[in-house]
């Protein structure tokens, strides 16, 4: 027995040793040997879209130019990315370079001191990026990332031919006329507006962010955050009533709560629907897929009678910023800063514009940019207003997202939603 015991002991010890050796091995290899700097980098560039390809090209270019720096990428799909960042942030295990979004996504990272400002190298973009283009990634006077693109979240795409058949040569200027157009399109047996709100953010990001702005004006959100105004204000409730009214008059396809935003884009592309209200992210894919790109018209949501907002305003958010982990220092920090300088160069902004993406830089559009992109860039050049989910705390956004879906179903009134929002807002303090 004794002999057996000692044998089994020995065996366990050996196994433990092997385990430990395996673990420690993993650690030492990721540290590097000092000659080659390795930076970990998480982003959402999984799809083969032109924008992602342009971004990945920048990384490749940087690695070619800097053979002693290795960028170790993890490409993670958008929704999972955000969950992963939050989880890893809780465990203090963020990578060296992280793609970040302004507002509600960025501020907790700053508050938790998980990322560091890039103010030291900001002068590299003098003349290329204007101060107000930097603003979204600026928290309390410190710059945390460089913006690449500006994304209007709320554009009305319309089928020029179908509108003409309904008797409209031009997109309606007011909400009243817009409703008449919807009635006429319905009479013609077509879906007036394609909507896929299964994921719940569409009515918030593409609809209410701009519609509410038409009613309340652009200072409303900030005032609500400061406690000067409330979601229960009449103007905001009227904005919610627009959603209620549109769904009651059956302006949307009737399965709008069970399809997603990719599917609603298809309804528009296949000419089953005459319009869709969507962000600029749909511009490239739509123009690529429709038979005749000339037939796609783009407008802003019309002016609403009695609204206090500027009818030329559109909700937009800047994006594709990359933040630096606050733990970076010395050689690694220098390498990371070098990476940012090389990544956000003029060529990148040109590539983005060629891919029908509006950029957050002050440069002339290169040749070969589509007329639609030029049109969108004119439409959105007048006034930019905040997108709700980029400026409100996540919990309030959650209430708004699911509440809008309920308002569209008729299971909640706009007044009830407004009260719930205000209650969620007050709980934040």
């Amino acid at each position: 027995m004794k002999r057996f015991l000692s044998k089994s002991m020995a065996l366990t010890m050996v196994m433990l040793l092997v385990l430990m050796a395996a673990c420690s091995n993993g650690d030492s290899s990721s540290e590097g040997d000092g000659e080659k700097v390795e930076l970990t980098f998480w982003n959402i560039w999984t799809e083969p879209s032109p924008q992602n390809e342009a971004s990945l090209k920048q990384v490749e270019k940087f690695e070619e130019e800097h053979p002693n720096i290795k960028i170790k990428q993890q490409n993670i799909p958008h929704d999972q990315f955000k969950v992963k960042v939050k989880t890893q942030a809780a465990g203090q295990q963020l990578p060296d370079l992280i793609q970040v979004w302004p507002g509600a996504e960025l501020t907790p990272l700053v508050d938790g001191e998980l990322i560091q400002p890039v103010d030291d190298i900001l002068s590299s973009w003098d003349g290329l990026i204007k101060e107000d283009q930097f603003a979204d990634y600026n928290v309390d006077g410190k710059q945390y990332a460089i913006p690449a693109n500006v994304t209007p979240t709320s554009l009305v795409y319309y089928n020029k031919k179908m509108l003409k058949d309904a008797g409209y040569d031009e997109f309606p200027k007011t909400y009243g006329e817009f409703k008449q157009l919807i009635e006429k399109l319905k009479g013609g047996g077509k879906i007036p507006i394609a909507l896929g709100n299964k994921a719940q953010w569409v009515l918030q990001s593409s609809y209410i962010s701009t519609i509410a702005d038409r009613m309340t004006g652009s200072d409303f959100l900030q005032a609500v955050k400061n406690g000067e105004k409330k979601f229960t204000d009449e103007k905001f409730i009227e904005a919610l009533k627009v959603i209620q009214e549109l769904s009651e008059m059956e302006a949307f396809n009737n399965d709008f709560n069970s399809i997603d935003n990719i599917q609603h884009r298809e309804l528009f592309i296949l000419e089953e629907a005459a319009m869709m209200i969507d962000g600029a992210w749909s511009l490239g894919p739509t123009l690529e897929a429709v038979e005749d790109p000339e037939n796609v018209g783009i407008a802003l949501f019309p002016e609403i009678e009695g609204g206090e907002g500027d009818p030329s305003a559109v909700s937009a958010v800047t994006g594709t910023g990359i933040a630096l982990n606050s733990e970076l220092e010395g050689e690694k920090l220098e390498a990371a800063q070098e990476f940012l300088k090389s990544f956000y160069d003029k060529e990148y902004y040109n590539d983005l514009m060629k891919a029908d993406i509006l950029v957050a830089a002050d440069i002339e559009p290169p040749e070969g940019v589509s007329p639609q992109l030029k049109h969108v860039s004119e439409l959105t050049s007048k006034k930019i207003t905040p997108v709700y989910d980029a400026s409100l705390p996540v919990e309030v956004t959650d209430v708004l997202n699911s509440g809008l879906q309920e308002v569209s179903l008729g299971t909640m009134t706009p007044e009830q939603l407004a009260e719930k929002l205000q209650a969620a807002m007050e709980k934040q303090k």
Binding site: T12, L109, K198, T411
Partner: protein, 291 residues
Amino acid sequence: MHLLSRNKWPAVFGLAPALLIYLMFAIIPILISFYYSLMDWDGFTDMRFVGLANFQEALSDPIFWQSLKNNLYVVAASVFGQIPIALFFAILLNRKLKGGKIFRTLGFMPVVISTVIISLVWGMMYNSRRGLFNHLLELVGLGEWAQNWLGDPKWAMISVCITIIWQFVGLYLIIFLAALQNIPQEIYEAARIDGASGWKQTLYITLPMMRNAIAVAVILCISGSLRTFDLIYVMTSGGPGHSTEVLAMYMFDQTFSSTRFGYGSALSLFIFFFSLILVYLSTVVLRKKAD
């Protein structure tokens, strides 16, 4: 190895690695989530002790109760839907049936297919404009029965439950088939000699002999339905409104998208206790029958 020897140390050593891993990944996280549930924590900034506030909030949170109710629907649909259907088909397939193997494979197929695919396909079939179901109803002249299956809060939960039943019938079918094979033929022979009809044989021999298999299936059913997540997440994401929200999904949303790790932990502890209670109740009920 001397199984009967008094010395238990070799057994302990053998178990140690498995036990260690189980402790690390199952028991300790439960204890840690109890600790987190007493905190207000967003994962980024420092934790704040709030006592039992998270539990209090959960109890007065209508969405929490809605999710619990939906979870109970799923449990009911599984226990009273999946098990009887699976039992019925198992008994059918246990006879010498032409093409029995094909039916068995077909029945088991949904269990093998990835849940995401099932959800997407059923989502398309439920679609109100283009979907198979509404189309079929229209074809046979029952157009007014057509519904917005997943988009209408009245129907969404029912539609989801039907898919869940379909998905797992095959699993219990296989369990029951295996149990049926284990019933000795002699008992049936004896019964036939005594003049017991087919129906009586099923009622007085087959079902009692399968009690243990059914009990296992019920427990699997309950614990499985309390964990339901993927199917609903893909099919409706809890919508419309919160009409198909279940506890696991609400917990996930609160923890990882609203970054309320404390509240999420409190919710997960509720799920933990509900599962314990339900599984305990079901064993009690099933044991009573056995006595």
